[in-house]
């Protein structure tokens, strides 16, 4: 589970890493400001304002916030239910902040799980996500087909006693590609998704379909091929009886023959990774 040091990163990757770090900083700042009574809409607005102040003008998708059992997408039937509601945070409630800002043409897509006060179930879920981060990296390096990796993630979740909740995402993706976006004066968005990013994704879908690959990572037959090189925003999402937890960060896949170089996490200095390291030293 190694991300490479800053020095090694080519300029392009550094841009992606910076915006991912910015997004996680936003998540941590907003999470620290959450109090009982704050609603999902307010939390989403806080993220948006914080990032706007720091120069973010375009989005892959607008910030989401899910509180309580909405972190596990309980009773989600239509995609509109993903949008922030007026649900207010209560003590002990888990929450997830999910945002995808575009900064200087670089895209990030992150997910941050936390809870207000004590919630042992949430802590357990978050701790158990570590195995998924390791599993995904290992199997991508082995160049296993995306579909198989997806199924292995699924099996690990079942073994852990959890439900697969990324299945609820559009197309049931556990990951999707992110790319550079041209900066323009206008940055329209459509149903929460940035129009330019959607356009990029759509053209990838179109071109990829001809060559037998896709920028989305789903469990279907079409994904019976090894991961395509590029930047993947990976987001395994666990659910357990009304509590959900996820992380989301960028996995870099290259065409290198060296396994270490062939795939790596863009950045290891992230809140959830630090948390696991702290838990290990504490134990």
């Amino acid at each position: 589970m190694t991300a490479r040091g800053t020095t090694e990163l080519p300029a392009g990757l550094r841009g992606f890493r910076d915006v991912q770090a910015l997004a996680y900083a936003c998540a941590e700042t907003v999470a620290a400001q959450l109090r009982p009574g704050v609603t999902e809409r307010e939390a989403a607005r806080m993220q948006r304002l914080w990032l706007r102040e720091r120069g973010v003008r375009d989005w892959f998708h607008l910030p989401f916030a899910w509180f309580g059992d909405r972190t596990a997408f309980v009773d989600f039937r239509v995609p509109l239910q993903f949008f922030p509601t007026n649900r207010a945070l209560e003590p002990g409630m888990p929450f997830i902040l999910d945002m995808a800002p575009v900064h200087r043409g670089f895209t990030a897509d992150i997910g941050y799980s936390g809870c207000l006060g004590l919630n042992p179930v949430h802590d357990k879920l978050l701790a158990d996500l570590e195995a998924h981060r390791e599993l995904i990296l290992r199997e991508v390096r082995e160049r296993r087909p995306l579909r198989e990796i997806y199924e292995d993630v699924d099996r690990l979740m079942v073994r852990q006693g959890y439900a697969n909740r990324h299945r609820a995402y559009p197309f049931g993706v556990v990951a999707h590609k992110v790319d550079r976006v041209k900066e323009r004066r206008l940055s329209p968005h459509f149903l929460g998704f940035g129009a330019r990013s959607l356009k990029g994704l759509a053209s990838d879908v179109l071109h990829g379909h001809r060559d037998g690959w896709s920028p989305l990572w789903s469990p279907h037959k079409f994904f019976d091929h090894p991961p395509r090189q590029g930047l993947w925003a990976v987001e395994p999402h666990l659910g357990f009886r009304g509590t959900g937890a996820k992380f989301e960060e960028i996995l870099v896949v290259t065409d290198s023959k060296d396994p270490e170089e062939s795939a790596f996490w863009l950045d290891d200095d992230l809140p959830h990774v630090r948390r696991w390291a702290e838990e290990r030293t504490a134990a």
Partner: protein, 598 residues
């Protein structure tokens, strides 16, 4: 003022320190057990009883809970003297005087925990809602006895705005109160109790209420019952006509409701939240005399409540929030095949309802994992045990270990099962043996071992057997599996008939097509390994597409236990198959001929 021990029927209260307390013209017979420096629990008996109704519960509270237990005979009952004249001598005010005198004598410094059954509960409601005992009562557990004031308001509310439902509730409780009207007739009740009724009462209790025979009721019964009629005559009319408007409880209350009580309607307690700020509800599937018929459960709930409320009004740290928390809180539930699928979901559902869970599976890691997560979501305790249910000796060892370390199982869920598919003519005897060993013999071992323990304890229980929609839907693809599950279904029905007399319920659950791991381990006969692997994958995919969650089956299991249902088909296809098996078995036979799309 201690009289010699064993002056009256105190066999059941061995080692009790008996003494007498004088108050308001009567002498009360008080018995104390256990260490006086420990939290004091006062047990108040009902009608027609004496303090000996509590012997079983008291013994458990002293031995297991290590409490200071105090019992006393209400005036006119057992070893206490009766007021003179009787009329007007049994008002709630005077009974409160008695209670205060008793706690002054046994616990002058600290507050006490009160537990009342029947009329003991009725008067304890008075104790816990009047000003003068504020600060003297740390908690109150009410068993089968409402507050007359709350009851009065309950009636007033329904008479004042009589919707059809409310009228129905009024008439229902009105019918259940037949004996109250009889007790208001002059002289007749006394004659009956001192005559034939008193003589036959122990047999009636045994037969109708299923109270185990023994040293209860005591020989003072005719006199107790004759005097006790004045409890009704002095209080019922007065309080129901003019209920107090300020009958708010000043201590936390635990309400134990016997769902099979023929004297009290469950609806009586619907508005209780208005009167009791800190209320915990419990439901027991039993009749009226639970201190005699369910002493283990009553003592366990009282212990838990007393401990939680010891040391002032400390908030309860952990209270399960599941739907059936009132029914399964603190009970011991054993689930086989608990490392995944329906078994794991069932273990979690019981954990959410506050039950203690034993998760049994061949897969040690999976069972331990289930136990670990169960503790996180509400189980006060949970254990993983590694056992193959088809192994008779291992099951015997498990039963012995569970009883020794965790107690007698209250709810047993025989869930472990394996799948086998393929034509009969291509199945070997080894295939058959494997399926029957797990699916049928596993259930037999479970029922035999744990069912016997439940029966021997004699305090009820429940067995859930996981059958299948294949138990009534024949299929050319599932001869062995369907046979094993049909056997489980019939076993459950027979066992239900056999154990009904001992208040042990038996339910068979028929889930249908549920998204679990059974398809990924199922065996397919008559095909090579490659084809078997393909079929496993394919069936897993189909089950995944159907995507009926095991959590819904788990909910059905809890509902089946709570409502004591006999056969519960779960998914729509299982319900449909059951319906067809009754009204159109030919259609089922036609379906049975279809080759499954694998």
């Amino acid at each position: 003022m201690t009289t010699g021990a064993g002056s009256r029927d105190t066999d059941g209260l061995k080692g009790a320190r008996e003494h007498r307390v004088r108050t308001g013209g009567v002498e009360l017979c008080v018995a104390e057990l256990g260490d006086p420096s420990r939290p004091t629990v006062v047990l108040v008996h009902g009608y027609p009883d004496s303090k000996e109704v509590w012997t079983e519960v008291a013994r458990r509270l002293v031995d297991d809970g290590d409490f200071h237990v105090v019992l006393y005979d209400v005036r006119g009952h057992g070893g206490s003297t009766a007021p003179k004249p009787l009329r007007g001598g049994f008002t709630l005010e005077k009974l409160t005087d008695d209670f205060v005198a008793v706690i002054d004598a046994v616990s002058p410094d600290g507050p006490v925990h009160v537990v009342g059954h029947d009329w003991g509960s009725v008067q304890s409601w008075e104790f816990v809602t009047v000003q003068r005992t504020e600060g003297r009562i740390a908690s109150f557990t009410s068993i089968s006895g409402p507050s007359l004031d709350h009851f009065g308001h309950w009636i007033k509310k329904r008479v004042a705005r009589p919707t059809p439902r409310r009228v129905g509730q009024l008439l229902g409780q009105g019918a259940k109160s037949w004996y109250v009207y009889l007790l208001h007739t002059p002289a007749l009740p006394e004659l009956a109790w001192r005559g034939p009724l008193g003589k036959r009462w122990p047999k009636i209790l045994e037969r109708v209420e299923r109270v185990p025979a023994g040293d209860y009721p005591t020989s003072s019964l005719p006199r107790d019952a004759a005097h006790g009629a004045w409890l009704y005559r002095d209080n019922v009319r007065a309080r129901l006509r003019r209920p107090r408007a300020d009958a708010y409880a000043h201590a936390p209350v635990q309400l134990i409701m016997a769902s099979g009580d023929v004297f009290l309607s469950e609806r009586l307690y619907d508005d209780l939240g208005l009167w009791v700020p800190r209320l915990v509800r419990r439901t027991l599937p039993a009749r009226h005399w639970v201190p005699r018929t369910r002493p283990d459960q009553v003592a366990a709930w009282v212990s838990e409540f007393v401990t939680a409320n010891e040391g002032g009004a400390a908030p309860r740290e952990h209270m399960a929030t599941g739907k059936y928390a009132d029914r399964f809180g603190g009970q011991l539930v054993l689930v086989t095949g608990a490392a995944g699928g329906i078994g794991r979901a069932t273990a979690f559902a019981f954990a959410e309802a506050g039950a203690r869970v034993v998760a049994v599976d061949r897969d040690a890691e999976g069972a331990a994992r289930t136990a670990e997560l169960a503790r996180l979501i509400g189980a006060p305790d949970a254990w993983g045990e590694t056992v193959d249910v088809s192994d008779e000796q291992a099951m015997e060892k498990l039963a012995e270990k569970v009883t020794r370390e965790y107690g007698v199982v209250d709810v047993l869920v025989n869930n472990a099962g394996i799948g086998l598919s393929g034509p009969f003519l291509d199945s070997s005897t080894a295939d058959w043996k494997e399926v029957l060993d797990v699916n049928l013999w596993g259930v037999i071992h479970g029922c035999r071992l744990f069912g016997r323990q439940m029966a021997e304890r004699g305090q009820g229980g429940h067995i859930v057997n996981m059958a299948s929609a294949a138990a009534f839907q024949p299929s050319r693809a599932l001869p062995a599996y369907g046979t094993s599950k049909a056997a489980v279904l019939m076993l459950s029905e027979c066992l239900r008939a056999e154990l009904a007399g001992q208040d042990i319920g038996v339910s068979a659950i028929c889930p249908g097509i549920v998204n679990t791991g059974i398809t990924s381990t199922a065996r397919f006969t008559g095909v090579d390994a490659e084809e078997e692997k393909r079929r496993r994958k394919r069936s897993s995919r189909l089950y995944g597409l159907r995507n009926y969650p095991p959590e819904k089956v788990a909910d059905a299991v809890l509902r089946a236990v709570a409502e004591n249902r006999a056969v519960v088909p779960v998914t729509p296809e299982a319900r449909g198959a059951r319906l067809l098996s009754r009204f159109a078995p030919k259609a089922l036979r036609a379906i049975a001929r279809l080759e499954p799309p694998l």
